[in-house]
Symmetry: C2
Subunit: 879 residues, 2 copies
Amino acid sequence: MSKWIYFFEEGRSKDKHLLGGKGANLAEMSHLGLPVPAGFTITTQSCIHYLEEPDFFTSHLQEEILKAVSELELKTGRSFMNKEGLPLLVSVRSGAEVSMPGMMDTILNLGLNDERVKDLAELTNRHFAYDCYRRLLQMFADVVYGLAKERFDEQLDQAQKENGKPVQDFSQLEQEALVESYKKVYQSCRKSFPQDPADQLFAAVKAVFASWNNPRAKIYRQLNAISDKLGTAVNVQMMVFGNSDEESGTGVVFTRNPAKGQKELFGEFLLNAQGEDVVAGIRTPEPIQALAQHLPKAYQDFKDYAQILERHYRDMQDIEFTIERGQLFILQTREGKRTAQAALQIALDLVEEGLISQEEALLRINPKLVDQLIHPVFEPESLESAQPIAQGLPASPGAAWGKLVFTAQDAKRYHEEGQKVILVRQETSPEDIEGMIVSQAIVTSHGGMTSHAAVVARGMGTCCVAGCSDLSIKEEEKIVHYGKKSLKEGDIISVDGSSGKIYLGALPTSLIEKNENLEQVLLWADQHAQLEVRANAETIPDLRTAIKFSAKGIGLARTEHMFFGKARILEMRRLILADQEADRKEALVKLLTFQAEDFYQMFKEVGDRPLVIRLLDPPLHEFLPKEDVEIEEVAQELGKSPSLIRERIKQLVETNPMLGHRGCRLGISQPAIYQMQVEAVISSAIRLQQKGLAIKPEIMIPLIAEKKELDYLRALLEDHISHIFKKYSAQAFPYEIGTMIELPRACLIADQLAQAADFFSFGTNDLTQMTYGFSRDDIGKFINHYKNKEIISFDPFQTLDKEGVGELMRLAVEKARRIKPQLAIGVCGEVGGDPASISFLEEIGVDYVSCSPYRIPAARLAVAQASLLKKLEQERHQA
Amino acid sequence: MSKWIYFFEEGRSKDKHLLGGKGANLAEMSHLGLPVPAGFTITTQSCIHYLEEPDFFTSHLQEEILKAVSELELKTGRSFMNKEGLPLLVSVRSGAEVSMPGMMDTILNLGLNDERVKDLAELTNRHFAYDCYRRLLQMFADVVYGLAKERFDEQLDQAQKENGKPVQDFSQLEQEALVESYKKVYQSCRKSFPQDPADQLFAAVKAVFASWNNPRAKIYRQLNAISDKLGTAVNVQMMVFGNSDEESGTGVVFTRNPAKGQKELFGEFLLNAQGEDVVAGIRTPEPIQALAQHLPKAYQDFKDYAQILERHYRDMQDIEFTIERGQLFILQTREGKRTAQAALQIALDLVEEGLISQEEALLRINPKLVDQLIHPVFEPESLESAQPIAQGLPASPGAAWGKLVFTAQDAKRYHEEGQKVILVRQETSPEDIEGMIVSQAIVTSHGGMTSHAAVVARGMGTCCVAGCSDLSIKEEEKIVHYGKKSLKEGDIISVDGSSGKIYLGALPTSLIEKNENLEQVLLWADQHAQLEVRANAETIPDLRTAIKFSAKGIGLARTEHMFFGKARILEMRRLILADQEADRKEALVKLLTFQAEDFYQMFKEVGDRPLVIRLLDPPLHEFLPKEDVEIEEVAQELGKSPSLIRERIKQLVETNPMLGHRGCRLGISQPAIYQMQVEAVISSAIRLQQKGLAIKPEIMIPLIAEKKELDYLRALLEDHISHIFKKYSAQAFPYEIGTMIELPRACLIADQLAQAADFFSFGTNDLTQMTYGFSRDDIGKFINHYKNKEIISFDPFQTLDKEGVGELMRLAVEKARRIKPQLAIGVCGEVGGDPASISFLEEIGVDYVSCSPYRIPAARLAVAQASLLKKLEQERHQA
């Protein structure tokens, strides 16, 4: 015969499948000998049986429950079924293997009835006792009969009105009358509240079972791929009351300081109080250390148990306890939430104390926390009273305040006057770059996590909130509306790039400049890492940041960003608008001079680390002016007619630029641009070679869909490079030509591409756009509907979509390695810096990830975690 | 010891790998006993050996060649090496296994020298002999020494100028002097022309071998994935001369009439002439039947040989022959090119004659030809003298002439006056639809094979040339420029939608109204077909066409096209622009009425055939007005301010609409639209059910990327449908909800989607766009560069890209069938009607293809061919 019910002391934490998460946790604490209020768990299997065959309840379960209750009465010395003795009240809680919203969760105080409530009133106090009873009546009606809770609240309101006083002050008779009015709600629906505690319990257990199949729970399981066959367990546990007398109390304590990480108990308690009183804030709790004076025995017990729990779980714990008439009960323990700083301190301390290994410490630190340690944050106190005025996407972490400006020009002007500025725009474009550099933070109303503003800000480590559609920004009028209010140029705001929130006024920030704990952890991390971490960077400051954060090289240097300086964009425009060969040549020569100097400086900065240079990617129309004023200006500078420029702009317009004439398609239709870029790369490497620094340039071709594109460009560039060596009378040196893998088709023909490429680099941003058919620029139009309806649970531009995009990448790696087992394969999209994606990237066999410089510390940790997890997985297989 | 040389009579057509294509064909004819001029083939293996080890030529091949030449002298009774006897001249031709441009191809008249030319002059005539010799000198210089041909042409021009007469009239001395001047060109490069025929031959063979590795040939092989290890064979064949005397001659003959298909010899000949004379058109050739009078023996021989060849190859042949002094030689035979009409007639006749089976007949007819039989064509004679003024993409087959108009309104106006019109626009939009319907043909300067104009025109069977960038169309000025000329409204042009060419004036057209041969062939085809052919259609005329062409159902009815009528688009705009719930509801109610009537008529038309209705797909901004005038108009009609409409248009603008807020994304963000559409579908089915016609509606959801999208919409629609059944007090009946598979991600998660879908339909148009990262609207900006540089060899929007898009589809079918083996899977993109793609679609296990109505006949044939090829393949495996 199967066993349908387990007392807490019979289980362990590994029995989640049978006892549910909550039951297994209570069992584990009981097993450790902790004073957990006694109770038992009705198994998930019982639930499944009952749902398949309702007769099972009366034929099997009912008797077992009664037996368990009798045993509980014996254990506790209290009485649930009979009127004699101390009353035993119980809580009934659902608890599935996987935590799951949408199910019925809790009925408290089960066992109370018209008589028992009086016993409880004597034990505690009248208000509390009747409050418990009313809550039972209300919860029971909701859970068992589906009666709306509001109907009972109405009764309470009415009684308070009629009696002319708050419920705390009701007399015994008034309390009883209120209970009667609650029962009338039952009667109006032809139901009644069972006075027999056993009937209460049976009905509650059945209701919890049934809630497994309520529509919300079913949808949740469907959306989260949880089997309908798991069922939920039901926990029946004795209630304890911290408000019994002055030797009772309740509290919440962390075993270490969750803000800084020191090894000390940290928390609060209230005497003669229930858990809710601590939360309600009517009385001021005392620090836990004060308990030593009031109840020395309970305090000592708690300290001992806290240590047991910390040693058992080998981590800082967040513990809830209740003291009933001097006796301590532990109600719950869980891993304590902590700040980034505390997380590092605790992990390092636990290693030193010998509780955990270096590897475990590394696995425990959430890489996202690392971001907080390298960017400023608002001081927690200042946030407590601040109300955000708008909420956007947390596009680049950090916190800052400054004066609001609407244009890059204004940003520069204020900055020159020594003022801090926040640049607020509908969206930014490459021409705003100088204004962005001098801003404390950047806010946009349009664009997503991978918009221009977001990408550039992360690159610079500048705080950014993107896609903040709460703001209606009128750049020309220099005004921004939010709700019914507005802000103008010069107003001060504070921006939290980690939460996406925007505040009025200046909130103070703090940053730990040198974090030795972090450096220690990252050094450990590097020892365990398999994947290399490189940076996406091209400006000298970015390259320096990357190297400071120990990037192993540069995985992506985007050459187009270099064409946006004032002198350069003019030459780029001259090139695009040229109608004579001479003009075209002149522009190319000037651009060559600029680019050669760029690459020379970059190579010098990066030294012998790898540096992958991507040839021009965006469509040419991105370089042309947009506004009338600008068109006139360019026309004058280039000696062309504005109408000719407008005509050319019109010719270049594309319906879907993302799918248009860009990347290698430009290289093929206008080979001179790629030839110029390659000459700049090779000639600057020659210059450095002559100074004794051997460079092996890596040239990367974007947007390849077809092997012949790569064949054609490779032949073109190789031919051109051999001319360059001759032209500069230089000894030829090795170089590599690789390709971005950023179109679904490139993944599917990766075996062919591997024949023609020296290396691969996945461009996960574009690959995600094409695989989903999502445009990053337009996704804002519907993505909120998707989030609200839980149609997507993560942003695939931030965290790799393993099922779709990831599957294509896996295919590509397999196909490519079949042809060239040693082919170097990197990832240079946004997900390259996302810890949640890195395990998968390691699993499919990528060699390195490349991310913006300020994401490198988190990526170094994530990469180590991925390796450690893989090692653990292998050990598990071998065992 | 290996055999390096084969005489023609030693080989067969199967020996292509060793003898090359040309050699094997000559061998086959010799084997049949046909009088092929004697000769031998030096094998491809000899070429490979020589290229690897040049000494091989002197050590092995040279001696073998000399032996073969001796044998050839014996066989022909002529002399190559010695001066005595009739001179034996030979041609030397390359011939690889696979036909391959870029290689050296031919040297004629080898064996001539300063002496031999005189013998030949006696045998034929002086001009011809010296002409042959000069050509030998020129070709030899080109092939063996790489000397430019033009340098010899200069000598000829100069000699004619100096002698003051054409070369035909040169005296013996003048001819000899000219030969000497040719030799001087050799000398100027320190080369000489070998007088010894054997030296000529050795040099020529080596040059042909070497040409295997010339850069153009290597690139061609690389682009076409042909192995470098195949090598080329060399054919050495006796020259024969049809201009030897009045009993000599030459001709080209088809064994059946290539225009109509009747069984009769069809061709021409010239007495005392060389092949070039026939082509040159100086003399008028006589019909082949006239040869019976001139040379009865040769005529009878030719008739016999023609019959042998036709029976041997079991197809109509195109035969070249030469008669030298009364003796007939067959120089070449190949399958004769024929018109569509002839192809059908010949195939049916050959079946009747017992020469081929029904299956073979079906396999022989190119499905593309079928298109010609259901659309008008220009009469071939009229095309001979016509010069096209522009060339675009052949977007929809057919031929038509009419008066040029620039707007849909003008098209309607001219049409109402009883005039034929050709609508010429930069590109068409859904609002042009009424003008398109009344036009004889449609021409656009922008857009590709799958642009709006192209798709709609194919749907209507109207001739269309798209993307004709030779035309610069100014719609507002009503003028179109081409080159330096222009056309205005009312000018007459002719448009060939099968070739993409546009002509001035009216060219006569013809169409066979009822083609019994075609009907016969398609009936046979249906008996062999595995895949079903359905139609993409939604208008009543299109549905009727589809049914007339025996479509098995409607695979795609696009509901958005129904919103473009004048009354409907107003309601659609009211819906989109509504700022009050009442407006929105009013619009939805009206749209519901329209759609319900649409579906009622459609179901009635289609009867019990399947009809798949796709819910709204395009982004909402497509329904809003664009021009100022129109905005004002709409504002007035809807009682809104124009600025509000402009504001809304601005809000809806997308950077990449193809990747934007459309398809199921609209269904999720604005469920009311899909609910309205589903109500229209179900309520009209209820109406028909009440009249005794049982309908099983199939509802298709577009642009699914994620299972939860489908889950959400399916639940929403199922719920709504059960309300509809109640609302209309109708008995519920079965319906299906399926999904388009048109995003790469949908293919990758097809197993998940199969759980939630009743059927799949691949949308290959969008799938191709996303897989390549190509926008159909923008591809014109670079596609010509790709074609010119041979980077793409086919249009993936017309012919399925098997390696990329097809691979995703194969994956999707496998994954889906693993979950639901019986899941119905169709293809409803453009490639669904493309014969070249259908075999692949059958191979991966698709159930049906769906194409525009006028492509159905070709698709029915293609589908049968795919099944037959599969059967043949299976038989080959079993054998």
